[in-house]
């Protein structure tokens, strides 16, 4: 639920990074934070456990400049990936405008990716939103790993994207490969979906 402020000509939109635990959602945000440090005025907020796992969410406000005369601020969030944190995961999804689904390319994580995507579909449905309608981008993360078996991209496409048919990226959040293109894609998809409001 993006908010358009007609008085200050400002748009605030919420983009959520979703996906299985230890898939690299927080690492995506950390890379973005590091890369655009000079443009991000506030600190990145992380609510995490002592073991460095996301407990509630990470939050990064990102000023992306003017689009159609409006000052656009995207609020980037991650959700906790662990199965047991479903209640808080669902809360973060409230009012979402765009989603990046970060999948783990490791062979042994194949089932977790599918379950997490199904969980996203269910949690969106709880807010009466369809996964087929919300702006969505898939990211196949950890393509840089070379000491563990990785799923071929075709297999991941078939598992996760055969019905959704949304843009997807091979990426490495640790090295930063395709992190920014993923972000740009979800921002443009989100803004396109808001066009009717901005006219």
């Amino acid at each position: 639920m993006a908010f358009v402020n007609m008085k200050s000509k400002e748009v605030q939109a919420k983009i959520v990074f979703y996906g299985p635990g230890r898939g690299g959602k927080t690492t995506n945000l950390e890379y973005i934070y590091g890369k655009f440090r000079e443009r991000i005025k506030s600190e990145m907020v992380s609510i995490k456990t002592h073991g460095d796992r996301t407990l509630f969410f990470d939050f990064l406000p990102f000023d992306i400049g003017k689009i159609m005369g409006y000052d656009v601020k995207v609020q980037l969030y991650t959700v906790p990936g662990q199965v047991k944190y479903d209640a808080t995961r669902k809360l973060v999804l409230k009012g979402v405008d765009g989603i990046v689904f970060v999948a783990d390319s490791q062979v042994e994580q194949r089932k977790k990716n599918v379950l997490a995507l199904k969980n996203l579909q269910d949690n969106l449905a709880a807010y009466k939103k369809s996964i087929f309608k919300v702006p969505l981008v898939l990211q196949y993360n950890k393509r840089d790993l070379n000491d563990v078996p990785l799923l071929p991209v075709e297999v991941m496409e078939k598992d996760l994207n055969s019905q959704l048919k949304v843009p997807s990226f091979e990426a490495s959040a640790v090295t930063g490969h395709n992190v920014v293109p993923t972000l740009k894609k979800i921002i443009s998809a989100t803004m396109a979906s808001l066009q009717n409001v901005l006219k």
Partner: protein, 140 residues
């Protein structure tokens, strides 16, 4: 992926006109800032800032504050449901010199007030209740 989905599910993007926003701001100014509150904002449940005012001496990271406040409210609200309550009516955090008070404006919006020792909780709750009544009248 199943196909039994409501394809008409709407994305409730919304916007407020400049007149409405100005009316909300003047309510916040008259009811709260003029009563000695340090900083006040109206946010939506997704953590977006709808309107914000302060007394000129505050330098908080408001976007983070709004994100955390909406999440905090949502978490407490869910806890209330788990123990069988419709909602907890008083949400208030007390500090050494700053306090935060959360109040629901309606199903979509929250009023977050930051105030110091010079305003009592009783007065604040009274002023917040009046402000909410006036803000809801603007939306109607």
């Amino acid at each position: 992926m199943g196909s039994d989905y409501d394809d008409n599910a709407s994305f409730s993007d919304f916007s407020l006109g400049p007149e409405q926003l100005e009316a909300i701001e003047s309510v916040l100014q008259e009811e709260l800032i003029d009563s000695g509150v340090h900083s006040v904002m109206v946010i939506d449940m997704a953590g977006n800032i709808i309107s914000q005012l302060d007394n000129g001496n505050c330098d908080h990271d408001l976007y983070s504050l709004a994100a955390l406040a909406s999440a905090n409210f949502a978490a407490v609200d869910t806890m209330a449901k788990i123990v069988g309550e419709e909602e907890f009516s008083l949400l208030f955090h007390k500090g050494e010199s700053e306090n935060i008070h959360f109040s629901k404006v309606n199903a979509e919006f929250l009023l977050i007030t930051i105030f110091g020792k010079d305003v009592t909780l009783g007065i604040l709750r009274l002023k917040v209740a009046e402000a909410i009544q006036k803000i809801n009248a603007i939306w109607e």
